[in-house]
């Protein structure tokens, strides 16, 4: 046994030395590592070199999932989740003027977000729940009940900015970064929905639904999105206290509201969020001088 081990060691050491360079190199420049593998084994007949090559390719996928998911994949995940969202929460309110209004406001705050370079889409869905959520890539849902319960445009700006904050920080993707889908190709453009990868993809969307529609994101992500909501709205020119007013409204309605699947069940307790938002408000000394645009908002709210 020992003899066998000793016999194997020199070979392993040689193999290791032979493969160490491309492995190390692959951490920084995988393309060069692949060239090196090709130089070592041009015909692809050396089993060890091919195994190492596969390992490096796998390593590349892990590095990719750790560093970030490409935007096309992120957006497609968002689209898939949005398809589920319509089934779970309701279809868009059929009022183009209202949808245009919410989209214009949402895009205005998104331009002042941490991630202004991507396309954002906003939709008001017919739902009796107090709810809003963001799909990866920038599709944002807000329920008709939540909009109906607000009093001015600054409040809506803060809620939309809160959701934009989730997209900016890629919170939902972070929650599913360990999904099996990302251990394989991890890129949507390369898979078939009928394949094993397709099955993993659908399983990942199932997990994401569970996170966003039922369990909720990590509470620290929600606190971060609340801050982002205040910040992006303020930078656009809206009163950041809109975020606090919405939370106060939710607190006042919590006893009569449906909890399951709403902001009450998927977000941290309202009082904890209020406390943090009030502390954060100290940064905005001229908050009271910022826009609320009550009249325009109420004109659109009447349409619901």
């Amino acid at each position: 046994m020992t003899k066998q081990s000793n016999d194997r060691n020199p070979t392993s050491r040689r193999q290791f030395l032979k493969l160490a360079a491309p492995l190390a190199l692959s951490l920084t420049t995988p393309v060069y590592a692949m060239d090196l593998f090709k130089a070592l084994d041009p015909k692809g007949k050396n089993e060890d070199v091919q195994k190492a090559k596969q390992a490096v390719e796998g390593l590349g996928s892990i590095v990719q999932s750790a560093k970030g998911i490409d935007y096309e994949t992120e957006f497609t995940i968002g689209e898939s989740l949005a398809l589920e969202g319509f089934q779970r929460y309701g279809l868009p309110v059929e009022d183009k003027k209202l949808q245009d209004y919410v989209n214009t406001l949402g895009k205005a705050v998104a331009k002042n977000s941490l991630r202004p370079d991507i396309a954002y889409y906003f939709v008001v869905v017919q739902s009796p729940l107090y709810n809003a959520f963001a799909c990866p890539g920038g599709i944002v849902f807000v329920s008709s009940q939540l909009v109906r319960s607000m009093d001015d445009e600054a409040e809506l700006a803060c809620v939309l900015a809160h959701e934009v904050g989730h997209v900016s920080h890629k919170h939902a993707l972070h929650a599913i970064r360990r999904a099996k889908f990302f251990e394989g190709v991890g890129k949507i453009g390369t898979i078939s929905m009928d394949s094993e990868e397709g099955r993993k993809y659908r399983s990942m969307i199932g997990d994401l639904q569970s996170v966003l529609f039922d369990k909720g994101l990590d509470k620290n992500m929600e606190f971060e999105a609340d801050k982002a909501g205040m910040e992006f709205a303020y930078r656009t020119g809206y009163d950041p206290r809109g975020m606090i007013r919405v939370l106060e409204m939710l607190e006042a309605n919590k006893d009569s509201a449906t909890i399951k699947g709403s902001w009450f069940s998927t977000h941290p307790p309202v009082d904890a969020r209020l406390e943090r938002c009030r502390q954060h408000l100290a940064l905005y000394r001229d908050a009271s001088a910022m826009a609320t645009v009550k009249d325009r908002f109420l004109d659109y709210r009447k349409r619901l």
Binding site: Y71, S80, L83, P92, N112, D117, I139
Partner: protein, 177 residues
Amino acid sequence: MKIQIQRIIFLAVFFWAVVAIAVAQETLWVTSAEADLKAGRSVSSDTVAELQRGTQLSVEAYESRWYRVSTEDGKTGWVYRGRVSETRPEISEGEKKDEGGGIGGLLGGLGGSSVETDAADSARSIRGLSPEAKAYAEKTGTPKQSRDALDQVLSLSISENAIESFLEKGHVGKYAE
């Protein structure tokens, strides 16, 4: 003598603090999608330059929500405070830009790989649901109503002018005065 030393130390500390604050605040970056460099402290002033996200600015003054700044290539003017930050923004590569054209907006073209460029080209031709989302919808038996709803959401287009006009009518941000 002791009091004089104390005064000197106090003045030195005070001077250091003033300098430190000035140095810490003298640089800003454009963090919004873009920002206009204006000749005066108002939106109706002439536009000196259109600043891209990530542009570094040196601050010369601050008045009523506007910074007087200079760019590295020597242009000076005023920029609205909501467009800038003390933190340099992260510029992502290969992301789809919102050019007011719905999902047809194209990728940033910031030097991504050839794979990303190909993805950008295919994304440019998409209107409404992407082929991958359609495949997902078919595989999961998503009702037509939901597909149509998403198609409708992704087809909605709001122009940059419409956003500016919206903010102006509401007297929001740089249109507040």
